[in-house]
Symmetry: C2
Subunit: 348 residues, 2 copies
């Protein structure tokens, strides 16, 4: 029996780090979770649409976690130009994130049709920037579109984009369905979250801390995600979509979408992968395949080694942020709060 | 344009009236909602498994609402005998409710296999008692069973029961899927709730007050329910499954399943039926078909007339129960709280 795993520290290719006090609570915990390189989502208030904003945000993050490498993205909006793409590339920005309008947290600035962005995509393809897709179409009851098939119904757009920009690297973020998994190709990768490897629709029915977008779906969909991990498929890699919200905005009449996993990323992941017999795939999934797809050198962001010890660990009931007496003070309930995980992270 | 509808007061063939202070709040409101006959669910703590318990509960309800007719059921458990069925019949009890174990509120005492109940079903068929089925199998990820297909996967059991007891009247309660709707026959009817005519899966994603079991499903499933209403199909009738829970047990980490509609039953229903062009079907669906299926005389429980006026009505944010200073004091948030309905009930 394996009781110690030694790995390079991991990469999280989809993370929400927020702003202000919540950011200050989360960012120092990234490394505690065993992650030393992360790809930072741009859906702030206001969204990060310009290189300069992204660099300023990156500087804030680096100050909070000097030993973590932050790869930055821009939020796709009609203001984004091919010139801005070239500027972004010159300043080390790695990709552009597209949100369908209104589908998830802070996505009001999101896209409606991809055709208007073809000049931008062309520039991205030329410059080697990655396109990150929140792959859901908005719900539309008249056409039988709802949160359960919003991802599958999106795939026609992914196909079209891939056809029109075959060399553009595209990541279908937080894949949740068999249909999505089947889309992977040379230039199409998928991130998979920790929580979608664990949850099905039953787990978010009435349980707001497991509710996220895209929603967890049928058991056979979860199995499809597990199967590509078991296979060691190089186009599927870790992107947690860790997305904290204050507990009072989750446990309420209309709860926010998002699951918070950052402080314990690798403890969750090792426990869950072990549960379906794929602990030997942890290294490739969490440390190798993402970097390769993005063309990030193996060295970048992995100066350190991580040890995972097989020891019980109870997930905290919540994480506090803000200061006593501060109106911004609050709590975030993490994924599987109060439950026991089987692996502990030791970052050296 | 119709601005006044005059109908006999309505029948709700599936209602949860609870106990103690909550019961005292709900029961007087049944008539306010335009309902004067209701079929009362037996999932109390402890469940109503005997005729004597049912009659005692009925007496409590009648005291709180002397002008409402309460039809009573027993909770199917292994202790139920053919003798008890005959006794129940002799005392005016109308049916027996079966809950698959662990599927919904207070269903721990529910059934696991129907074969052990065949003597009871035979007696029910002979005596003319109705079998009420909560038609869901328990979730089982290994076999791809989850809350989304739990009803459809149940239908094989319904088919078998109908085959073995062709003259036994069976109600598949709170039908939510196209597959369930297709099961109706001479001796199989379905109740349809108010909320399942309005909601899809999107509406309970992160929204605990719309979360119930069975869960609302795809838009095409909702359309199948609407279609049988539009058709005026006599095997589909109102059963609200109104199921109040205190707001603090809904807005929390693990919310209870149930939607509360009783105080405004006919206001909701008229508004929703009108929204999909079937206001002319309100009478049959809410006042006629259920009684016919159950063999309840037209006169029973409808000594009064109800008028529905086309006037705006804002749904209260909550209904309080219990007394100030009482530990039992609480609030229930009704369906569509704070939203505007288009029809008001006037019971004469």
């Amino acid at each position: 029996m394996t009781n110690i795993l030694t790995l390079p520290s991991a990469c999280d290719f989809h993370i929400h780090l927020r702003q202000d006090d919540m950011m200050k609570m989360i960012v120092p915990r990234i490394l505690e979770g065993g992650v030393s390189l992360c790809y930072v989502m741009p859906n702030l208030k206001p969204p990060i649409t310009k290189t300069d904003q992204a660099l300023a945000y990156k500087a804030q993050l680096e100050q909070l976690a000097p030993n973590v490498t932050f790869l930055m993205t821009l939020y796709l909006t009609p203001e984004l130009t091919p010139e801005e793409i070239r500027k972004a590339k010159a300043h080390g920005i790695v990709g552009v994130k597209s949100y369908p309008r209104g589908v998830t947290t802070n996505s009001d600035s999101g896209i409606e049709s991809y055709n208007t962005y073809y000049d931008v995509f062309k520039a991205m393809e030329e410059e080697g920037l990655v396109l990150n897709l929140h792959g859901e179409v908005p719900s539309d009851a008249d056409n039988d579109v709802c949160v359960l098939n919003a991802e599958e119904k999106f795939l026609v757009h992914l196909k079209q984009l891939h056809h029109d920009f075959p060399r553009l690297k595209i990541v279908l973020e937080h894949a949740t369905t068999k249909a999505a998994v089947d889309m992977a190709s040379d230039t199409i990768g998928c991130t998979i979250t920790v929580h979608h490897l664990q949850l099905t629709v039953d787990d978010w029915a009435g349980k707001p801390h497991n509710f996220c977008k895209p929603v967890a779906k049928f058991p056979h969909d979860r199995q499809a995600l597990r199967d590509v991990i078991l296979e060691g498929h190089p186009r599927f890699f870790l992107g947690t979509d860790s997305a904290p919200h204050p507990d009072n905005l989750k446990e309420c009449a209309q709860g926010a979408a998002g699951v918070f996993t950052s402080p314990l990323t690798m403890s969750y992941l090792a426990t869950i992968l072990e549960s379906f017999g794929s602990l030997d795939k942890l290294h490739g999934f969490a440390c190798v395949y993402g970097k390769r797809f993005y063309g990030v050198s193996e060295k970048q962001g992995s100066g350190r080694e991580m040890r995972l010890l097989k020891e019980s660990l109870t997930v905290p009931k919540n994480y506090e942020y803000g200061k006593d007496g501060d109106a911004q003070k609050g709590r975030v309930v993490p994924f599987l709060a109060g439950q026991v995980l089987n692996w502990k992270v030791v970052c050296e």
